[in-house]
């Protein structure tokens, strides 16, 4: 079970994730928990992957929000993400080196 290496683009998850950060994403083990940063399929553009934080776990999926509410397109626009579209959990930032470290559950 190898983690995926994912490059971050965009500003909606600052300061936890910045544009240009490289992160490790692990396949989900069980259901995501509130506060997790998850990699999800964009419901409006299925080929695209999004990184957002889980605000609420619902019966039908996860309601995700960007940390920067004013600069984020998230579940407020497209509603909860079904569990099958949660690709993984972003757990670790490995580059740039000065930002090396775990991604907290906020």
């Amino acid at each position: 079970m190898r983690p995926w290496r994912v490059a971050v683009r965009g500003h909606s998850m600052e300061p936890a994730l910045r544009e240009g950060d490289w992160v490790l994403v692990f396949p989900p083990r069980g259901r995501p928990r509130p506060g997790d940063v998850v990699l999800v399929r964009d419901p409006q553009e299925r080929a695209r992957l999004l990184l957002k934080r889980v605000a609420e776990v619902r019966s039908d999926g996860v309601f995700v929000l960007g940390d920067r509410r004013d600069h984020s397109r998230d579940s407020r626009a497209f509603d909860a993400i079904p569990f099958v579209d949660v690709v993984g959990r972003a757990a670790f930032r490995y580059a740039p080196l000065r930002r090396f470290g775990p991604i907290g559950r906020a």
């Binding site: 995926w4 290496r5 971050v8 683009r9 500003h11 964009d42 990184l51 920067r68 397109r73 626009a77």
Partner: protein
């Protein structure tokens, strides 16, 4: 070699859809409602009154009406060009026509004090708003 091992294989978006990606027809609705309200207030003024207070009120209402007609137009233009996508056009074949007429109505409301034109603008914005929310379902 090491660099290649470390380099990410995927890009993910901590998405912000610059500019912002926050689209909402509500500001257009508020602007259209303001236009209608100003038309109503202007028409309620005493047309024979020549005192400065009445004249001042008249000028102020006209200014607000024109400003909000312009705001309405801008808000609709952003929805039209930035929010709505080709797949929405497939779902709503009248999309372009509806927007085009709504923008013309916004201009008409700038030029005139016309309760019918104001009501038509409100109806056009409502139609667009309904399409917008239908895409969110």
């Amino acid at each position: 070699m090491l660099a290649r091992l470390l380099k990410p294989t995927t890009v993910a978006y901590a998405h912000c859809d610059i500019p912002c990606g926050i689209y909402d027809p509500t500001p257009a609705k508020i602007a259209a409602d303001t236009v209608a309200k100003m038309v109503e207030k202007i028409n309620a003024l005493d047309k024979s009154a020549t005192d400065f207070t009445t004249r001042g009120n008249f000028v102020r209402m006209v200014v607000v009406k024109e400003q909000h007609a312009e705001i309405c137009k801008k808000e609709l233009q952003v929805l039209w060009s930035d929010y709505f996508k080709p797949e929405h056009l497939e779902k709503f074949p009248k999309l372009h026509d509806t927007f085009w007429k709504a923008l013309k109505l916004a201009s008409k409301n700038k030029q005139s004090v016309d309760a019918q034109a104001a009501a038509d603008l409100q109806a056009a914005v409502k139609e667009i708003s309904d399409m917008f929310w239908a895409t969110k379902k």
